[in-house]
Symmetry: C2
């Protein structure tokens, strides 16, 4: 099984006429909370073989905080993780070609409602939007390393940041 | 919404010719780990208005550890939480008549695979056995305080004990 850790970006500034959605940065509070979460993950002994992040600024900054905490040494921007990303394209064009070895641990940094929808599709085959994923929260899912992961995942973790501080 | 916290009993001794399943007690390691989880829940600021537990010894001992940690002041044995318990009977004969106020926090201590099946039925309307609930682990679900909770729950927490130690 490959372990996927969906991580939602931290608290970000609001969009204005001057700030486009894709350029929204983490607020000071968002940065601090995300740093605390990253430190706690490190203390829990987590290490990701790979961090893939949505290219939007608030997600990239969140991923950079994970890297700075020493949670991984490899990072890549992945357009499928942007808010309009499609899980079916991600599986076929990104996940399957990577051909990850069993036990690989991947962090995927992105946005709501995409991440929790993707998690539901991986675990139950369809999205009902009944998972609550807070900013800087995470979902852990194991998927088989071969064959389609859709509807075949096993969820082993879902946590808001308040239980990681 | 009412918050339900499904908590699986800690590590228990194995059944033998001399020890019936319902009499299996927590092992020393099981007790210690469960106590650490309870202390962490307390530190996280959790407090349950009510603890309902399966009457089986290993579950009752787990519930008693939660009480001893000061996580609640009310406990009740609930036969629906035994391994052969049925969620539909539990909803009709136990949950609905209690008529809990919004924001009530309930801990429900029981067994696998019942607890994670119940969680899936509450959240997605059916059980696919795709949740992993470790011993002394927990699942947090919000359900509406009126009307059927089946398929209407929102899962906000799922954690193995190792992330609560």
């Amino acid at each position: 099984m490959v372990e996927l850790y969906f991580i939602r970006h931290g608290i970000a500034e609001v969009a204005t006429d001057d700030i486009k959605d894709e350029e929204r940065r983490l607020t000071k509070q968002g940065r601090q909370k995300t740093e605390k979460v990253a430190q706690r993950l490190k203390k829990l002994g987590l290490h990701f073989d790979f961090v893939a992040t949505s290219p939007l600024v608030r997600a990239r900054q969140t991923a950079d905080i994970l890297m700075a905490a020493g949670l991984s040494s490899q990072i890549e921007e992945c357009t499928h993780l942007a808010p309009d990303g499609n899980i079916y394209n991600w599986v076929v064009n990104w996940l399957e070609p990577k051909n990850f070895a069993p036990e690989t641990k991947l962090a995927l940094v992105g946005h709501e409602p995409c991440l929790s929808r993707w998690a539901e599709i991986l675990v139950w085959g369809e999205a009902k939007e009944h998972l609550v994923l807070k900013k800087a929260g995470m979902i852990g899912i194991k998927v088989p390393e071969t064959g389609s992961p859709l509807g075949r995942g096993q969820m082993f973790w879902l946590t808001p940041p308040k239980y990681l501080l």
